[in-house]
Subunit: 434 residues, 2 copies
């Protein structure tokens, strides 16, 4: 045992063992233990209400149903499924995703053109790199659009070009020399505008004329409250639109499971980029989600969540009308947040800071603005992750912060009526086709 | 219903609806359906025996035990666990990984210095990018080393520097102007050499002297058959070694779950790079693996697999000795493959092609060589994924291919003895400390 221990320590480089000499501890230069201390983390004031725009409800995650799908996945997985898998993702899952996207989103999704990713951001990051490698480095972004995606695109080697958004969505005639464009047609983030029919046609014509790639971020299109969800742009022109989506807003962000439906000219390169980083989704999770989709559990979960979110939306909008009846609210027909319009960036910043000091986390439109043209100020009020009974207090707390920050020009508490749910006049980002 | 259908089609851009006019189908330029055809895939001859070096056995994946851990994970997951998680990975898992790596591999793993990745390759890719961003673009590689990792490092922005390997492993004095180096000290891929005690000390001294980063790829160190596994290099100097590992060889490649234990100077940047691509491992899987580790199931599974692989190793080596007694075999004390030495690259290529034509998939050493110095020829014979009873036939089939390809200089079938398991003379890549 002693000999084995010594030879082990010698093999690992700790001991010097020579025949006929006593073993000695090997000198390793500067062997100070070094501070592997935890890096200090920023401290936030305690958050009581998290009204950030992108947060879904996760307490409703269907744990039992998901577990059943994991069990079915483990029972049915072949050796090939458990080994190094197809870099595109398991075909069994791509078939189910193709079926779902065709049925629910009007996406023309050949299973051979689908790539399974850890989410929409992962897909956008891969697309950014692949386009950059082909010399396509000018990517247009809606302004405003999610700030996190700005960082992702820049890290992928893209130069961002800001394109303004109006009541019809992206102003296609402002695309200039862009080589690709990232859009959220069904529910623009953060304004909530829908890309109009004319603009859709214009955008596809732009892609056909210039060879530009349209990346469609269908991030929360499943949540439409007044009508059938608007179909995906991709269905108009699958050769020019790269469609990306995920289960982050519909099941749980932690699941890390999404997809890209790609033009045939891009699918090989994106799968290669994915293969080289070996960033695939667990084969067991892929099989589980395929089972979950096949049994209709995803559709069932979406129907359930749509009801929950619609009610939260109604409560939030009514509470906002009651507390701040004179401030216009837009973007209310879909998604997980509404936009409260404010008059300036200074007021935005003051409101966010004041809200935070009383335990309410809320984002502003300007936080998602790109440099360039003027973006109207506003507050993004997310109701996705706040339980319905807590929403009125959360909004009341926010409203009082707004009163303080704005010097209380908004104390009229009137018109707390159901009509408040319907916008009373044409809003800044509102269009007739909505 | 009709009105709704029309307005839906209009909103999606398919119809033109104007007041007082008949709706018309919108003209979309060049609307040919386009060929979204499957891209043609290369055709391989039917593979009967897959003897590639990196393949583990997956049929033994502990499905029931894993399912139990998934159930425990789903039962215990908090809302925070299911939402957007810590980009470093869930702390509950990092604590368990820290404990395991300290206990089993001698890794000094502060949980705050651990980042959970989808595997070792993902970690190496992230490290390559982070180092490149800091101006560290010259990465040394053992020559030979896994060719896939060459591609990964190049895509991450690194220029590769080939450093020769001898019987003591990486020739540290040949590191030249490298700014980082990727090594597999416990079991060099593909030669099977162990980095000697002297070289370990030299390598750490190099890192301290130059500020270079050592990336330790501990890819299959758990499988050591003649002694306790050699401890990780990282334990000698956690400030200079980035340690990467995964469950790909130990549980299943499809699980996509690994880790990096990073010097404090790198952990923030690597976590940021990971956070920006939103490539995280499913929170449910992270909790499941934490549970699996905590209950000792990982250790139990490894003990079981070690016995299985050791027996396969014995059978493979005995069969090789029986069929090709005169050809030297090395790298047999660990891992999932052995190296059969050959005299030239031409013979290598001929053997691989001939083997493939009779349904045997096998890799050569030269396929993993970098340009530069001469790398001795050889065949990598993986026994990881071939069931024990099938191994003798697989080796026999391979041997006949070798006889044909080499013009049958090796038909002496003698010495099919148990001693064949022990190498009979000092091999090319063999060292006394093994």
């Amino acid at each position: 045992v002693v000999v084995r221990a010594y030879s082990q320590l010698a093999a690992e480089g700790y001991l010097d063992v020579r025949q006929g000499a006593n073993p000695s501890v090997r000198a390793i230069p500067d062997s100070q233990p070094a501070s592997i201390a935890a890096q200090s983390r920023p401290l936030f004031p305690k958050v009581q209400y998290d009204l950030r725009a992108h947060l879904p409800e996760v307490s409703t995650f269907p744990r039992h149903v998901w577990l059943r799908s994991v069990r079915n996945a483990l029972a049915s997985a072949t050796n090939a499924d458990l080994s190094y898998s197809d870099k595109h993702g398991l075909r069994k899952l791509r078939l189910e995703v193709s079926d779902y996207l065709g049925r629910a989103r009007g996406v023309v999704a050949d299973p051979d053109c689908i790539v399974i990713t850890t989410g929409a951001t992962h897909a956008i990051s891969l697309l950014g790199r692949v386009l950059a490698e082909r010399g396509s480095t000018r990517m247009a972004f809606e302004n405003p659009s999610h700030r996190f995606l700005h960082k992702v695109a820049r890290q992928a080697g893209q130069t961002l070009m800001a394109v303004p958004v109006d009541g019809d969505g992206l102003q296609v005639d402002e695309l200039g020399t862009a080589q690709s464009v990232l859009v959220s047609p069904a529910h623009q983030f953060p304004t909530g505008v829908v890309l109009s029919a004319d603009r859709r046609t214009e955008l596809i014509a732009w892609a056909r004329r210039t060879g530009g790639v349209v990346i469609e971020d269908d991030y929360d299109a499943e949540y439409r409250y007044d009508r059938t969800p608007i179909g995906a742009l991709q269905g108009l022109s699958p050769e020019h639109v790269a469609y990306v989506g995920s289960t982050g807003k519909t099941l749980a962000p932690a699941l890390r499971l999404g997809w890209a439906v790609l033009p045939p000219s891009l699918v090989g390169a994106v799968a290669d980029a994915l293969g080289t980083s070996m960033v695939n989704v667990s084969g067991i999770d892929q099989l589980a989600f395929a089972d979950f989709l096949r049994r209709g559990n995803f559709d069932r979960h979406l129907r359930r969540m749509r009801v929950i979110y619609r009610r939260r939306r109604d409560v939030a909008v009514a509470a906002l009308a009651a507390e701040l009846g004179d401030l216009p609210v837009s973007g209310i027909a879909a998604g997980l947040h509404v936009v409260l319009e404010l008059s300036s960036r200074e007021i935005e910043a003051a409101v966010c800071a004041q809200a935070r000091s009383v335990g309410v986390l809320v984002e502003s439109v300007s936080q998602h603005a790109l440099p360039g043209d003027h973006v109207p100020a506003g507050l993004l009020i997310g109701y996705g992750s706040v339980p319905e009974p807590a929403l009125p207090q959360a909004i009341e707390r926010l409203a009082s912060a707004i009163h303080i920050a704005t010097g209380s020009g908004h104390q009229l508490r009137s018109r707390a009526t159901v009509e408040a749910v319907q916008p009373r006049r044409r809003r800044r980002w509102q269009t007739s086709t909505r």
